[in-house]
Amino acid sequence: MDLYEHQGKELFARYDIPVPRGIVATTAEDAARATEELGGRSVVKIQVQVGGRGKGGGVALVDSPQRAAEEAERMLRDGFKGMPVTRVLCEELLPIAREFYTSLLLDRSTGRYLALMTAEGGVDIEELARTRPEAIRRVQVDPSIGMRPFHVRELVAALPSESRQGAADIIGKAYRMLLEVDATLVEINPLVQLEDGRVVALDSKVTIDDSALFRHPDIESLRSAFPIDPVEARAKEKGLQYVKLDGDVGIIGNGAGLVMSTLDVVAQAGGRAANFLDVGGGASADQMATSLEVVLSDPAVSSVLINIFGGITRGDLVARGVLEALERVQPKVPIVVRLDGTNAAEGRKILAEAQHPNIVSAATMIEAAQLAAALASGVAA
């Protein structure tokens, strides 16, 4: 779960990491009022979960509440890179002496935490890592000993000596926050030193581990601020892994790998998947039924492909779930079903006996993909 900049900074503030004074605005009037409160000048920043705001018109320095209102109005109206924008952050303007970059993240290849620091601020860190890796200090932190003073010293040695104390202080706090809120990424870009010497987090990028949200209801609730597709919201509520895509073949499968593979095979058959939906391991009839409802609630869907290879998931329960769903929703589109694995024979038997007009059985995954793609494009309809 990726947090907005202002949400990340609210966490920073809880951990005493210095951030600029800021006020969130959801209307142009609020932005003007916020700027007034910040002394008549501010920086207005679009709150989105994609990068490149600086170059893309997502950040504006304004010298009057009136200008703040104009910029906020534009941002809220136009969105950003195709994403809707529901809020902006107005922050005080600070006199910056130097800009740096720092981040803490979980490094999947080692299973350790990785801390990065460079004296070059506001950079594209991936780009810098490619072109001048020696400019970045990288320190691995073993979770068994945690972030120690020596790790911090190694990191801040990348900075001018007068900036080290302030940066060290922030790294220590950011690591504690990373652990306590179960973050997998805490990035501060830029980390700045002000003219008065203070070191401040000017931006925030925080990612929280979804698997740990159960112990952070306060963070989980921040999600309510996200603009979200209503179909995705429904799937989420039911505990289904659903991602909306652009095509017209609705996809349901069990297991992330099989579903991804199904999307690929449908594409090879000339179709375009309308979604990714993983019913998960040990799917019940009810989950299967809900999945079908979720997929069918997308008006773009012209055919559905259910591809199940049962391990924990049992074919008989899948078949019952499909039939249950067909009673609840009256589908207008064909549903191609391919069942294999645990209790698949029972499942196939249940479906065959039901003789539902919308159900088309397929023997193999490739055949199923071809059928579903063809049915969506009307060829086999």
């Binding site: 991936e126 979804d210 698997s211 790998g257 593979s261 294999d340 490739i366």
Partner: protein, 289 residues
């Protein structure tokens, strides 16, 4: 022959009294796996179909000489269960549980460093050596004994690809699901090394997916160290960037972790990369003929 699990496996099931735990314990035992014990705190002294349930793994190991553990406990207790198994001297720990917080897995992984226990998973389908032992949720009936070693991040792709192999009479030595979580136990490289050393594995199938760089690092390992043919498959060519595709670890971040890059890295290492699960079996057939 086989790797990780086989005829010597003495299986302990942590979380044996839960629904899924009991269901798959029975299936594994019916397959022929030697299931010697279960553990559920608070239920020590009970039994499941005659399999004794213990209060702690240490007790179970002392009484039954269990050497392998399968973990079905709920996510918030699962990291503790893994540590318990490692501490009790279990050699192979197979964690099926999905949704363990990654911070806890980072701690587990650090603890495994320098210890002799091997962790498979979490969020994995387990390990099966057809004809010998099944530890996990891979449906045994789709497998058949043979000389193909298989390692996969995805569970259902194991089933799908094994199914395609078996249909073509290409039996398997061992199939390993390493799991789809960002921080996990053994990876492609460990599995490839085991298959390389296993005299009865003739060819290896490696099934990857988007996210991370495990496949890229495996490719480097293959070109340096693996003397046997390897067939690859990567799921997620059509996955859009920035979207997590079911598995916690399956996400294209910026320009890294794409299926395309992984396939190219494998091909550069001499691996034949299939475009569908069916093609995997076809390529194996060609390589062995």
């Amino acid at each position: 022959m086989s790797v990780l699990v086989g005829r010597d496996t003495r299986l302990l099931v942590q979380g044996i009294t839960g629904n899924e735990g009991t269901f798959h314990t029975r299936r594994n035992r019916d397959f022929g796996t030697n299931v010697v014990a279960g553990v559920t705190p608070g239920k020590g002294g009970q039994d499941v179909d005659g399999i004794p349930v213990f209060e702690t793994v240490a007790d179970a190991v002392r009484e039954t000489k269990a050497n392998t553990s399968m973990i079905f406990v709920p996510p918030r207790f699962a990291a503790d269960a893994i540590l318990e198994a490692v501490d009790a001297g279990i050699g192979v720990v197979v964690a099926i549980t999905e949704g363990i917080p990654v911070r806890e897995m980072a701690e587990v992984r650090a603890y495994l460093d320098g210890r002799s226990s091997v962790l498979v998973g979490p969020n994995c389908p387990g390990v099966i050596s057809p004809g010998e032992a099944n530890v996990g949720i891979i449906p045994g009936e789709v497998c058949t004994p043979g000389r193909v070693g298989l390692v996969s991040r995805s569970g259902t792709l194991v089933y799908q690809i094994v199914h395609e192999l078996t249909r073509r009479h290409l039996g398997q030595s061992t199939c390993i699901g390493i799991g789809g979580d960002p921080v996990h136990g053994i990876g492609f490289i460990d599995a490839l090394a085991m298959f390389s050393d296993d005299p009865d594995t003739e060819i290896v199938v490696m099934v990857g997916e988007i996210g991370g760089d495990d496949e890229e690092r495996a490719a480097a390992f293959i070109s340096e160290r693996v003397g046997k043919p390897v067939v690859g498959y990567i799921a997620g060519f059509t996955a859009p960037p920035g979207k997590r595709m079911g598995h916690a670890g399956a996400i294209v971040t910026g320009s890294s972790g794409t299926a395309q890059a992984k396939a190219e890295a494998l091909e550069a290492a001499g691996v034949k990369v299939a475009r569908t699960p069916t093609e995997v079996a076809e390529l194996v057939q060609v390589a062995l003929s």
